[in-house]
Subunit: 205 residues, 2 copies
Amino acid sequence: MSANSETEAKIIQAARDVFLHKGKAGARLQDIADVAGINKALLHYYFRSKDRLYEKVFKQIVNDFLGEFLDSFSTDEDFRKTLKSFIDKYLTALSKRPEIVRFVMWEIKEGGVFFAEQAHGMFASRGFETIPLISVIQKAVAEGRIRPVDPVQLTISIIGMCLYPFIAQPLLEKIIPGLEVQNDDFLSQRSNEIFDLIWQGVGVA
Amino acid sequence: MSANSETEAKIIQAARDVFLHKGKAGARLQDIADVAGINKALLHYYFRSKDRLYEKVFKQIVNDFLGEFLDSFSTDEDFRKTLKSFIDKYLTALSKRPEIVRFVMWEIKEGGVFFAEQAHGMFASRGFETIPLISVIQKAVAEGRIRPVDPVQLTISIIGMCLYPFIAQPLLEKIIPGLEVQNDDFLSQRSNEIFDLIWQGVGVA
DNA sequence: GTCTATACATCGATAGAC
DNA sequence: GTCTATCGATGTATAGAC
């Protein structure tokens, strides 16, 4: 391959770093050029505009993250195990790459079309019509393994409980002294609390 | 009073509208001036800079929202009722002003110092050292009214479950066909599902 | 393909007349 | 107090030499 694709790869990699930490609006083409070790003009030579470069990079980042996560847990086990596994794997994936939460947040602010398209495509390519967790819960309800809850509502609850600490991380760590969202102890404790809450609630026996 | 303070009030009101919908970075002083019916120069005359104007407006918005919410529910009732009341009032407040969620999100991205300060002050002025819900849960655990959960973890779970639909609104409505976060039916259903989940979980009797 | 230089637009902030 | 005009900085995008 020519020097051509090497440079393109360098640019993509640099763009990932910068966009991930600064967001689309906050990122400067100059920064990306500096990190890539080239100059601004080359960015426009390879990718016509900032928008196009961003779109390409965004889809790649979401694809990598969501793909790795979706393939990390199976849905054909016992529901109880699937649920615990989902929570664990999701929290782990988030704590490994917390910048992605902010990154997707920026996108949602703009309407979230890229993410929605990408996610839908990745679900479809794995045989799901919507968020896989919804289907899993639907099945568990149909088989009478859990009480008849609304699968969409429960899915929103689970995702919200896992995601919120990362979304509000700087805030929570300021308001609740001693709290460290990315701390291993906190995360394993969080995993257990979410699972227990879903499974048995707080009601006394 | 002189025309002086009238203009100032008009500016503040215009700034609230614009900052609320565009965020700090996205807002243009020109937009604010247009909405207020004056010109950019006057903005600098009354408030030295965009930063100062933003800080003033931000604190006002958070103060109004959080103040109204904090005063809308009492903590000295039965825990069960307090919990249900918290969820209801929180969801209602959020659905009435969903732009505030995005607005605070922008602030968190910048570190969230303003919000943390403001919230802490408002908790303190009402006799709480931290998030009131934490204290309420602490008491319920101490009195044996619920099983011994970690109050901080449960609080994060509750807030996450209430807040997440509004944070991810555009995304959820794209990925889950037919879902309308601000729809009354969805919200009352959501309130019940959150409460039931917390109270008894999904485990079969 | 890769560079330098620069055009073009936007925005916050200031100067100065009234 | 309020306006018009403009500065200065920054950022995307392009022209043109090599």
